[in-house]
């Protein structure tokens, strides 16, 4: 009997594996296939100008800092003072930067967009006796398997 399960790549997966081994399933009878995500082919000249994964807030935080320095400076002369103007300008800067980035991601780089490697998944195949299958299935579900199937 074989059980198929899919997992997200996290520490629960390793907990499940160690518990299966503790219950007498041998390492040789477990087959793990980490799936590749859809990714862009890495190109030296493009990739040095991009840090993938951090893309959405980078311009926002940078503009928030810049705007708030201006906001604080001018705020000393304005009715609401430097602290309120500093905060207002920081939020404005962040919103603007975030909007710019969203625009770039959704319109300018539309054709280059790929799935970001957030939910990388793993397929597990476990070979076991029919009597063990209930136990194995329970262990898999208890460790947050995304899906489980039994083959006989």
């Amino acid at each position: 009997m074989q059980l198929y399960a899919t997992f997200e790549s996290n520490i629960f997966l390793e907990l499940a594996l160690s518990q299966l081994e503790q219950k007498g399933i041998h390492k040789e009878n477990i087959f793990a296939v980490p799936l590749d995500n859809r990714t862009e082919k890495r190109r030296v000249f493009d990739s040095i100008h991009r840090a993938d994964g951090i893309s959405l807030i980078d311009i926002g935080v940078a503009l928030a800092t810049a705007f708030s320095v201006v906001g604080i400076s001018i705020g000393f002369k304005l009715a609401w003072g430097p602290i309120f103007w500093g905060l207002i300008s920081a939020f404005t800067g962040f919103a603007l930067g975030f909007a710019i980035k969203l625009f770039i991601v959704f319109f300018v780089e539309k054709r280059k967009r790929v799935l970001i490697g957030k939910h990388s998944e793993v397929i597990l195949i476990i070979d076991c006796e029919e009597t063990q299958s209930e136990l194995v299935e329970e262990i898999l579900w208890n460790h947050f398997a995304l899906g489980v199937a039994k083959i006989k």
Binding site: N29, T65, F76, V122
Partner: protein
């Protein structure tokens, strides 16, 4: 104690996990790194995990900026009061500022471009590295954490986001400087007056030359903790995939061609 004793046989490594934190080489945007060096010399290098030069440039910035009155000059410039700018800048210090300021920007940009190439080579080489470290004073290991929580903690007090993801050096450095900037800018004394609606009183209390350091410290702390949480998560996944492929792909394993049962 580590789970792997490095034998220094790799040409390049992508990460180092020690009890002081997880140090990683990963792809970074050189313009963003250069921007943080421009916001506050030293921050660009801290983002690159080049701590010693980051710390030194940071201290240099605080000393020279305060003595040359650069921050006051910035404030009066934005207010359009050029007379006052000229009056306030201290020429005994001023010319010292520019060369090192530009060096910090240029050097962090150059280093990022170089290290991105190093990353690609190290990533392809894929040499094993230590992933678990336990000692008398700390425990550090590869793990998945939530980038949003890192941002939230950094918003409370800059440096806490770094502490959340175990970047101990930067965490304490940023926390200590945050306390110094809070104390000398008198901002916390001004905040109660803001709640009471006495804005003029609050404005007169704060020291502008110290207040102007805070936006960069907050921005850096947010960005640094967010970026590193994301990269640490990616490193965890990469390492786990290698582990699975090494341990759970036995050549004798055969697939059963049966039917799916309930």
């Amino acid at each position: 104690m580590d789970n792997y004793t490095n034998d220094n046989t790799a040409r390049r490594y992508i990460a180092h996990v020690s009890i002081f934190g997880t140090t990683q080489i990963h792809l970074r945007n050189p313009y963003i790194i250069a921007w943080w060096s421009a916001a506050f010399p030293g921050f660009g290098h801290l983002l690159l995990s080049k701590y010693i030069r980051g710390f030194v440039l940071f201290i240099w910035e605080v000393i020279v900026n305060l003595n040359a009155n650069i921050n006051l000059g910035i404030i009066y410039s934005f207010q359009g009061d050029i007379e006052k700018v000229i009056q306030v800048l201290d020429t005994r210090w001023l010319l010292l500022y520019m060369p090192v300021y530009l060096f910090a920007i240029w050097d962090s940009y150059r280093t990022t471009v170089d290290m991105n190439k190093v990353f690609i080579l190290a990533d392809r080489e894929n040499h094993r590295f230590n992933t678990f470290s336990i000692g008398a004073l700390e425990i550090n290991y590869l793990d998945k954490r939530n980038p949003l929580l890192a941002v939230v903690w950094s918003l409370c007090v800059p440096g806490l986001g770094q502490l959340y993801i175990h970047r101990i050096g930067v965490a304490f450095y940023v926390i200590i400087w945050t306390i110094i900037f809070f104390y000398f800018s008198h901002i916390l004394e001004a905040i109660p007056f803001l709640f009471l609606g006495e804005i003029d009183k609050a404005t007169s209390l704060v020291k502008p030359e110290w207040l102007l350091f805070l936006p960069s410290v907050y921005g850096f702390s947010l960005f640094d903790s967010y970026m590193n949480t994301v990269e640490n998560n990616k490193l965890f996944e990469k390492e786990q995939r290698d582990f699975l492929q090494k341990n759970y792909q036995h050549s004798k394993f055969t697939l059963l061609k049966g039917k799916k049962v309930k």
